[in-house]
């Protein structure tokens, strides 16, 4: 009965893909990649610049540097003083920001379409002539320290997560926080930022993505005008990533000022980049959908509604990464339910995936969500630019989302079982218990029984 859905969706999706505007890519002589996605629904444009430089490229003594440099990109250049960049963007009705992740740093500007030349000129300016002033650097470092206090230091769950990552992904560039360890962050020097900029911010290490109400004919001369004169420089080498051997089972007990305990479990699994067998990526995606693809998936049905063990829980597979992927489970228990009980229930879910084939109706539902999601994603120009930038930066095919549904449709129940058995194993697992201090625990038990 359910099978027709997948077939229908596929046919429908093919229609949408056919109707969607084209994607162009080309490379400038200095090595900069350019991707243009035409979407003429509304007179808007998003301009993004992506750099293959993120937290995993940081040495242990300079954690947080990639992100601090991102902040400095809004400060001075040859022609712009501190704050001028964003003031110009705002003056012409745009919005701008940037984000740093483990794998990349990316900058964006969004405008009404006639502002495109300004957006490109501004990006070329800071790629070509950033100036890092000592005083400005130290002032901005204070802003970043405030950001860290806000995001991490004053949030016990964020702080616990940061500590958990250190054991969950040991010996990799993903083991330290993007924002940096506080004491090291506070000691960063302007010279380190300058050297980071010189090393990574070269055209050959960058992808320019332009999405929206534009055409290649209109964009190409503008891109040439502003970017082609930038010297090629030397593109920094990045080590090739492959699947890491299992690190062994790890457990962490954290006492934090929380009112509700938390459980984190993380399995080290392949990503689309590191997987020897790319089908593992699609099978793990399907597995995550069966477990937590919506209100009708297993975690909601069994743990939240059935056994009523948790107030909230989730499972997710992050498989689009430069290094290995992660399969993460997290849960906040209901009052009077122990973390041990929740862990046992989650492990039981993993065992079930390893021993019993998932139902075809569950897999069809995951496919339906993915197929419809691909239509919905096209509603956002920014979303399209994000996807293209991520794929290009990780060296993946730009048409991944077009082929994604077909690949997912090829995943069999047996393959879901195979990846569960191969990758969701104790020696690839890290677990953290986050609990309140003992005295507080007593109080909340009392409160719960009132």
């Amino acid at each position: 009965m359910k099978k027709w859905i997948a077939g229908l969706c596929l046919a429908l999706w093919a229609g949408v893909a056919g109707a969607s505007a084209p994607t162009h890519s080309f490379t400038l002589d200095n090595g900069m990649k350019v991707i243009v996605r035409e979407d003429h629904r509304a007179p808007v444009v998003t301009v993004m610049v992506w750099f293959k430089a993120g937290s995993i490229d940081e040495a242990p003594f300079e954690t947080g540097l990639a992100h601090v440099l991102e902040h400095m990109m809004f400060k001075g250049t040859e022609h712009l003083g501190p704050g001028d960049f964003s003031r110009l963007v705002a003056r012409y009705g745009g919005s701008d920001n940037a984000f740093t992740s483990y794998d990349y740093t990316a900058y964006y500007q969004q405008y009404e379409a006639s502002r495109l030349p300004l957006a490109l000129e501004l990006e070329a300016e800071r790629l070509g002539s950033l100036q890092i002033d000592d005083e400005e650097f130290h002032r901005e470092l204070q802003v970043v320290l405030e950001e860290r206090r806000m995001r991490t230091d004053d949030n016990p769950n964020a702080l616990a997560w940061e500590k958990f990552q250190a054991i969950a992904r040991p010996g990799t560039g993903y083991a330290h926080p993007v924002i940096g360890w506080r004491s090291l962050l506070a000691q960063l020097q302007p010279e380190q930022a300058r050297s980071w900029y010189q090393r990574f911010y070269v055209p050959g290490n960058a992808t320019l993505v332009i999405a929206g109400d534009v055409s290649r004919e209109q964009v190409e001369p503008l891109v040439e005008r502003f970017f082609s004169d930038l010297p090629a420089g030397e593109t920094p080498p990045r080590p090739e990533q492959s699947v890491r051997p299992a690190a062994g089972e790890r457990r962490l007990a954290l006492t934090m000022p929380v009112k509700v305990p938390a459980l984190y479990m993380l399995y080290n699994v392949p990503s689309l980049v590191t997987a020897d067998n790319k089908q593992d990526f699609y099978a793990l995606t399907m597995l995550a959908g069966v477990l937590d693809g919506g209100m009708s998936a297993r975690i909601e049905t069994d743990l939240v509604r059935g056994q009523k063990l948790v107030a909230g829980a989730g499972a997710s597979y992050s498989g689009i990464q430069r290094g290995d992927g992660t399969f993460t489970l997290s849960a906040a228990p209901n009052p009077e339910v122990s973390l041990e009980e929740v862990e046992a229930a989650l492990r039981e879910q993993i065992v079930r995936l390893q021993t019993t084939l998932p139902d075809e109706s569950e897999m069809a539902r995951v496919r339906a969500g993915v197929l419809a999601g691909q239509v919905y994603e096209k509603d956002s120009v920014m979303g399209q630019a994000m996807e293209l930038g991520t794929l290009s930066t990780l060296g993946l095919n730009l048409d991944l989302s077009e082929t994604f549904a077909d690949e997912l449709a090829r995943v069999t129940p047996e393959e879901v079982q195979r990846v569960a058995r191969e990758w969701l194993v104790p020696e690839r697992l890290a677990v953290a218990y986050v609990t309140p201090p003992a005295e507080q625990q007593q109080r909340s038990t009392l409160e719960a029984t009132q």
């Binding site: 745009g94 009404e112 006639s114 802003v143 004053d154 009523k308």
Partner: protein, 477 residues
Amino acid sequence: MKRLIKGALLPVLAVLLSACQSMGAFPTTEAQVAASEPQAPALDIQSWQTAEGARVLFVASDALPMLDVRLVMAAGSSRDNGVAGLSSLTSALLGEGAAGLNVDDISRGFEDHGAQFDVGSYRDMGVVELRTLSDPEFRDPVLTLFNQVIATPSFPQDALDRIRTQMMQGLRMEQQVPGPQVKKAYMATVFAGHPYGEPSDGTLATLPAITREQLVEFYNTYYAAGNTVIAMVGDVSREQAEQIAGQISQSLPEGGAAPPQSRAQALTERKHEHINFPSAQTHILLGNQATWRGNPDHVALYVGNMVLGGGGFASILTDEVRQKRGYVYGIGSGFSAMASGGPFQVSFKTANENADDALSLTLKLIDDFVESGPTETQLEEARTSILGSFALGTADNSDIIGQLGAIGFYDLPLDYLQWFNQQVQNVTTNDIREAFQRHLVPANLAIISIGPQAPEVKAVGDDLQAGEQGGVVDGEK
């Protein structure tokens, strides 16, 4: 519609001149960009009333094979009537059961077809949302299910108990972090005695007492067709849209619009509230009741606020408090106009040792702005910015359905966005200064904070440039 924009050309040139003076020839493209007229496409909104009294707003868009439906009711927490959390619980239980359907049937029914069903509850509004593929093979069964869910919600006792527990765990988790606590204290202080002052998601004391009967009654009263706006955007025809809206309207409980509520009164003297909390930052909220939907000064306040603290890096607060002194990661101000009131609010977080300085500086900046208003240049820059950003506000279906929901709910004219643009062009520095002085008395702004100790207001000299030359900021000491 384009003719509205032409009037803006002169001011744009003025901005260009001032920009050239301060930055030389860079950016070389600025003249071209400043001279180009930003497109501001008008939404083709179709509107009608259903037989049961629901107001419908519809925009046809065949660019993507999808349909968004959003129901907006006057069913927010301002209707809780002393039972804090009632509206949130009612909303959260939609989709948990309907005649002949349990929660598993309902969630599978939507997800098998790739549809997304969601609910939300705010101070004024209860919101029910559906996103589906527009092909009838998907749309028809999804809409049939949607109508069942809203026509015969069963509010199962077991779901009530489960979701109540989840909400209470959520409230406990909020006590781990400073932000939500200070926001609640802020609303409670600024709107003391008004329904807006009550916490939308209830309290650990109120939630346990809420009964299934109360949910049923709340639903039948406030989710009535006559109290509902139906917004739709997507790939369906007018005829199909009428049919869909008609079915939704028939599915909802019968009944009319909820009566308007009395307008909140502004505080007439300064209130200080501080919550002791062992955080690394002190969070500070400043504000007072200042506006409402339908305030004739709405545009003047909006444009003025862009200059003061609503315009991100282009605004005075970000420039002075973040850029020049590094006190904060973010600072912003805003007026949020709701049906029966709306606060002016400034919020920021800063290292505890900077809290006094950041607070005192911020108050001084607000004082100065209310006294003097924006300069002509500041106004022109804000104007260019707002008019230039128009297209971004209606670029995708998600944006459009949000605009339709607000236009319908607050009973704004269908050409409201164009009207707004026109007003932005006409507003003067005088209008803005007078509007701020009419609606905002800086000395009466409440100061609500959370952190290890209460911040104190200190005298700040007139020389606001001091921080710029100060080099490394206080945090280093």
